[in-house]
Amino acid sequence: MKNSIRVERARLRMSQQELAEKAGVIRQTIAAIEQGRFNPSTVLALKIARIFNLTVEQLFELEDTDWE
């Protein structure tokens, strides 16, 4: 699953730590999501999207490999 969290963070000049604190997770979890190493739960995806004032679909995008 692709996501544009890094881009949105850069746009708002927000650090991973700041985003993690707002979303109620640890910094490594945000790093793992950005790198595509961890897929967040629906609740966490919604929280992150709301922090950026976006919808989940605007922030996260399915890849072909997700259907396999």
Partner: protein, 158 residues
């Protein structure tokens, strides 16, 4: 994601203190413990009946320490850490089954090479490696290593 029900992080310290006490006890009372847990094995394996206080204390403290270490949360616990816990549990089951299989196989292979008494002691060592506290210890080790390596791979903030 629903949070796992776990003890507070402070219990990890209690678990570590108990584990340190076990190591100390094992070193200080090495002879008595080895005798009670392994050398006095009968055909029916090790028996708690008639075991000395050192072996008894070691079994109790070790069991309590691994349970506390396994069931207490990390300093910062979220859904990624919970996912690592689940993955560690699956890996532990695979490792445990492999240990049970290999130890049973090795018993069959080496059993004829030893006397009855020595063979029973080997069986007892196998039982110690496959007992429930040992399973929990494998889980704790796999989980801690997985979490440490995952955090290290994610590195510092970019």
């Amino acid at each position: 994601m629903k949070k796992l029900t776990l003890l507070s992080h402070g219990w990890q310290k209690t678990g570590l203190v108990l584990l340190a006490f076990c190591v100390l006890l094992f070193i200080v009372c090495f002879k008595a413990i080895v005798h009670d847990l392994i050398l006095s094995s009968s055909y029916y394996g090790y028996d708690s009946f008639g075991r000395g206080w050192a072996a008894e204390a070691l079994v109790l403290c070790f069991s309590a320490s691994v349970v506390l270490l396994a069931l207490s949360r990390e300093r910062a616990e979220d859904e990624r850490v919970s996912a690592i816990r689940h993955q560690a549990l699956i890996r532990t089951v695979i490792l445990y089954v492999a240990i049970v299989f290999l130890s049973a196989l090795s018993n069959l292979l080496i059993y004829p090479l030893f006397s009855q008494e020595q063979a029973m002691q080997i069986v007892t060592v196998r039982r110690l490696l496959t007992c429930v506290p040992a399973f929990i210890l494998y889980y704790v080790l796999i989980f801690k290593v997985s979490l440490w390596s995952d955090n290290k791979r994610l590195g510092d903030e970019e």
